[in-house]
Amino acid sequence: MRTSIRRSQRLMALAAVAALTTGLLAGCAKDSDDDASDGSGGGNGSGKGKITLTIGTFGVFGYKQAGLYDEYMKLHPDISIKENVTTRTDVYWPKVLTRLQAGSGTDDIEAIEIGNITEAVQTQADKFVDLGKEVDKSQWLDWKNAQATTKDGKLIGLGTDIGPMAVCYRKDLFQQAGLPTDRTELAQMWKGDWSKYVDVGKQYMKKAPKGTKFVDSASSVYNAAVGGASERYYDKDGNVVWDRSAGVKKAWDAAMTVATSDMSAKLKQFDPTWDQGFANGTFASVACPAWMIGYIEQKSGDSGKGKWDVAAAPAASNWGGSFLGVPTATRHQKEAVALAKWLTAPEQQAKVFAKQASFPSTPSVYTKLKPQADTTAYFSGAPLTQIFSDSAKTIPSQPLGAKDKPIDNAISDVGILQVEQKGKSPAQGWDAARNEIKDVLGQ
């Protein structure tokens, strides 16, 4: 009896120790997952007269990879730069919002994603330095500047990359399906409208190689189509018009054709299964913005080399892109502005493009862009620079709204997904999206 009690005590102790250790481990794991290095921010000066500038980013901005920080630090020996990376924007942005409003804890430079820029412009403009006076605005594309400009003309962020759209496709699969493989011929086939691209998909499915589909998902078609509309969820005056917008309707119809036919691999973008789809070649094409080029190359791996090609998209459209803003709360405003200016200057954008194909928002360098030789070879020698810059110059300026991203999620992840994966009718999907958006807007 006595021994059994002692043993049980030992067991309890074991359990307690295990609980504590796992708590610690879990804590560590979470940290490294969310904030690679979540510094105290605020830019603490360290050493004698040396200023540490912190820059908050998400995903992979490529500045470090392209050696830009090192280069800048060499040019300015009194500055040292620290990048605080958060992997996901939906974790990054709420954190930035709360810190901006608290007036402390922000980095000296904060990256802002396109999905959040309107919210920043409309609600946080007074928390950011007006960069309009600091730079020559004509360096950037007009629509890029417009996204970061407040009603009274204040520019709160400098454009970094943009996401002009093209179509990436597998030549080998197209050929097996009896479709042309030449990029100009294909571009001609679907020129003008994404629904024509969907028509090509119908043709593909008639003779589709076994186990392959035409496109990765219905929402990728929706996303590409809506990204080129001159109006989507908000009108110029800031009213929510998503259910009356012609751009949304057209994109929705194209996506519904994909979802209700057999041409979609029914994957969700950025899921592990989507990556596997690239590796196994289970879909023959995907609407690809410039920044996806590197992703495809990485995920498809050696097996896809020389099989991928890039053709011009049916219509110019944009997906993604970011800005760099300088919070007024920073203690080194002058230095931070200088760094932001330098990082977004045309020459530096060209360097980032050379490294990871993030497409510049400054048209002056478009003629000088050099993608890596490997990448060009991977995509069958496609003239990447030309295709993307042609698209970039014709992208319409689109009014965005504060709840743009949640509305977009509601349509893609609820409406379209229900039709594509749960066999709902397009009308049911539309209603579901409508209810969701009502909930999003708090009505």
């Binding site: 009690i5 043993r7 049980s8 359990a15 481990l25 879990a26 409003q101 299964t273 504060a402 994966q421």
Partner: protein, 341 residues
């Protein structure tokens, strides 16, 4: 029994013998019975020390509790009565009970509550039953029993993120191992993430996998405290192992079982990480039809993805109230159980 008192008296006298020592930890432990007498400065200090020190010693916990639990709790209540956007925290407009009324009439809220309950049942019941069975097996004399116990605890020691990632791959629609097994057995593939019951089952299975070993260990500890003579007399009365388990082990474990039920119920009510990560990119939606969106996910989606902090706070308080109700039911049950004994 007398020894501690003596020791106490000893330490007290030794402290008095060394005047000038600053009031410290040793003094706080002193007994009562200060000699009444002239109210000198020192004795006043001494009495103040007697009264205040204990509070000072326990204060760190309460200060931390107030700063990180009580204030946020009350602040959330305040938020829940306002319209607040994440992007305009200082711009609050009084909403009264609007947020709560909004929830009451919202299909999304009831759906999330229903999901929380069903996932809670599908995950908790098998989990506790399996834990009981495993603990019973481990209670036998086994070769390498420590190894088995450590093995049982490994899932618990794995991070939610890692475990969920693996499960997501296992349950993936095409190429997942589960569907491959089903195919092997002659069934069609299941879209685990988008089907109603399939997704709830998948999420529950992650919870079960993670927590069964932990509960088993708690049961095992309790089982080993059961006097062996009970089993001996049961064996003499001719009870076989199953009867011993039913009539000796389970009744003896009653308080422990109740404890694990309460803890798992609280855990199930707050279920968040598993469904969020299981959902992948838009995980906070809990599936296209919110088929596995729990209350925790709905709150996260409203507060941090959409930015309606007022409504998210109302959801948080609703969850809190639901937990209070569960606690009350639990209290009633415990009383009932005690009386019946």
């Amino acid at each position: 029994m007398t020894r501690p008192k003596q020791a106490l008296a000893h330490s007290a006298s030794s402290a008095e013998a060394a005047p000038g020592t600053p009031p410290g930890a040793a003094r706080g432990a002193r007994g009562r019975g200060t000699p009444a007498g002239a109210v000198s400065w020192r004795s006043r200090l001494y009495r103040w020390d007697m009264k205040a020190s204990p509070y000072a010693f326990v204060s760190p916990f309460f200060v931390l509790f107030a700063a990180f639990t009580l204030v946020p709790l009350l602040y959330t209540a305040w938020y829940s009565l306002h319209h607040v956007q994440l992007s305009a925290l200082d711009h609050q407009t009084w909403a009264g009970l609007d947020n709560y009324r909004n929830l009451w009439s919202s299909d999304f809220f009831w759906n999330a509550l229903r999901n929380t309950l069903t996932i809670g049942v599908i995950s908790t019941v098998p989990q506790l039953l399996a834990a009981l069975g495993l603990a019973h097996l481990l209670n036998y004399r086994l070769r390498g029993s420590t190894v088995w116990r450590v093995v049982m605890l490994t899932p618990y020691a794995t991070s939610v993120a890692a475990a969920t990632l693996v499960f997501t791959l296992l349950y993936s629609w095409d190429g997942g191992m589960v569907n491959w097994l089903l195919h092997f057995l002659g069934f069609g593939p299941v879209n685990w993430r988008e089907s109603d019951w399939g997704s709830q089952f998948a999420v529950s299975s992650i919870v079960i996998w993670r927590w069964t070993g932990y509960n088993a260990l708690i049961y095992l500890a309790a089982m080993q405290a059961i006097p062996t003579d009970l089993y001996e007399s049961a064996a003499i009365d001719g009870a076989n192992r199953w009867q011993q388990f039913r009539h000796v082990t389970v009744p003896q474990l009653r308080p422990t079982i109740l404890f694990t039920v309460v803890v798992s119920t609280i855990g199930a009510t707050q279920l968040f990480g598993e469904p969020l990560l299981f959902g992948g990119v838009s995980g906070s939606k809990g599936g296209s039809e919110h088929q596995y969106q729990t209350l925790g996910l709905y709150m996260y989606d409203q507060g941090w993805i959409i930015g309606n902090l007022g409504k998210a706070s109302a959801i948080a308080w609703s969850m809190f109230l639901i937990l209070l109700v569960i606690a009350a039911i639990n209290l009633l049950l415990t009383r009932r159980l005690r009386k019946s004994r």
